[in-house]
């Protein structure tokens, strides 16, 4: 019997989605540019008071990352749904949850990872210290995959619905509040001199929990959407 190994399936789907994203580079760039513009608007709007900027920096970067990740969620499954490849994915003789996990990872690599890399540059606009920037990167690195994973459940549930884009934000944004609190909290902690460990550990715990449950939930939601 033909069967792809789980690792083989993971790498095949990640490679496929990565190539597809690179052929549609405009989509990837919109998310990133949206993030850059939203974060840059704050120093311009609030004015050059470094104290205030430094205080609001973590919150602004995190909220912008959250909104930017919402922007890209619609793409996660909709193209595959419309051209029938999603149906074929359901027929793959291997775990659908693992396939979904691969799609989520690929999505994070092209929409979440660029935000993590870009964040320190944007943090400089807010006069953040080097230490705070490092914590910001670490927190985003742990937090943005969670956003992609929770978002995947929402995207799968709203697949094929008219006006699904707005609905998915309404569904997903409230669920992302813990990520926002601990993510921004970690940076605030390092600025105020308290321990960052607890915030980052909680983010890590959330990441592990999302890693376990969201691919499975997304697979269930996709099966309902395809029916």
């Amino acid at each position: 019997m033909n069967k792809l190994s789980l690792i083989g399936l993971l790498s095949l789907v990640i490679r496929r989605d990565f190539v597809l994203a690179m052929r549609r580079r405009a989509d990837v760039l919109t998310t990133l540019i949206f993030f850059v513009i939203v974060v840059s608007l704050f120093p311009l709007g609030v004015g050059p008071e470094t104290d205030m900027l430094r205080k609001m920096a973590p919150g602004v970067v995190w909220v912008a990352a959250l909104l930017a990740s919402m922007l890209s969620l619609g793409r996660m499954f909709s193209a595959d749904y419309l051209d029938g490849t999603l149906e074929q994915m359901m027929l793959v003789p291997q775990s659908l949850s693992v396939l979904v996990l691969a799609k989520i990872l690929a999505h994070w690599m092209v929409s979440g990872l660029p935000l993590v890399i870009m964040a320190p540059v944007l943090g400089l606009q807010f006069d953040m210290s080097a230490q705070a920037l490092w914590v910001l990167i670490a927190a985003l690195f742990l937090g943005t995959p969670i956003l992609s994973m929770i978002g995947a459940v929402g995207a799968a549930l709203t697949l094929g619905l008219r006006g699904g884009g707005a609905l998915v934000s309404l569904l997903v944004l409230p669920l992302c509040i813990p990520v926002l609190i601990f993510g921004a909290g970690a940076v605030e902690a390092v600025v105020s001199g308290t321990s960052v460990g607890s915030h980052l550990s909680l983010l890590g715990a959330l990441l592990v929990m999302a890693l376990v449950f969201t691919p499975w939930l997304t697979a269930l939601a996709l099966r309902i959407s395809v029916e």
Partner: protein, 204 residues
């Protein structure tokens, strides 16, 4: 091999068909007939497990397909209304990915041979978006050549195909049946496979 017993299927409140019984064994070709909206596509999608039947059972080698899961999917290939090919990729990449997902190990040579057989010589590395509807359908049909699934579930395989491609399809189905395959399909066009009597049943 494939047995359907007392299958009942509905979409929303609308009952499409009820108490459907038929079976398909090795080397058989089965055509599902029926007017538009009679539930042909829903029947095929139920066979694929996309739709939960209201009642009844679908068995493959004597076992319910719900219990078989992956073991059933490894032996079937489904071709729906949608081509399931990516516009951004070329025909070669598309087929590599779909064969890969199905777990078939294929190399460039086999893929190119399949595409040539489908009459797409010289189109192998063009992005699929520049191909015509019929050519895209041919790329989708080339998946059949690269798969070693024994059950083919084909939903309107002949749409957008020209006369030559329809003949080619008949040839492919004939070869597959001779190879101990099984085919269940829907179509509104006549499809004659040499040496095989098509069984058919109608949905009303």
């Amino acid at each position: 091999m494939l047995e359907i017993s007392n299958l009942t299927c509905s979409r929303g409140d609308h009952l499409l068909f009820s108490d459907l019984n038929f079976s398909l064994s090795v080397g058989e070709l089965l055509q599902v007939q029926g007017a538009n909206g009679s539930g042909k596509t829903s029947l095929l999608r139920t066979l694929c497990g996309f739709i939960m039947p209201v009642a009844g059972e679908i068995r493959w080698r004597g076992q319910n397909i719900r219990e078989l899961g992956d073991a059933f999917y490894a032996e079937m290939i489904y071709l729906g209304h949608l081509n399931a090919i990516k516009d951004e990729l070329n025909a070669l990449e598309n087929l590599h990915i779909s064969a890969g997902l199905a777990g078939c190990k294929v190399d460039d040579k086999q893929v190119i041979a399949a595409l040539r057989r489908m009459g797409l010589r010289g189109r192998e590395t063009l992005p699929v978006k520049v191909l015509s509807q019929g050519q895209r359908r041919r790329v989708a049909l080339a998946r059949l050549l690269l798969s070693n699934a024994s059950l083919w579930v084909l939903d309107e395989p002949l749409t957008a195909l020209d006369v030559g491609a329809v003949e080619l399809m008949q040839e492919l189905i004939g070869e597959h049946l001779a190879n101990n395959g099984m085919v269940i399909y829907t179509t509104h066009q006549p499809l004659q496979v040499v040496g095989i009597t098509t069984r058919w049943f109608a949905l009303s």
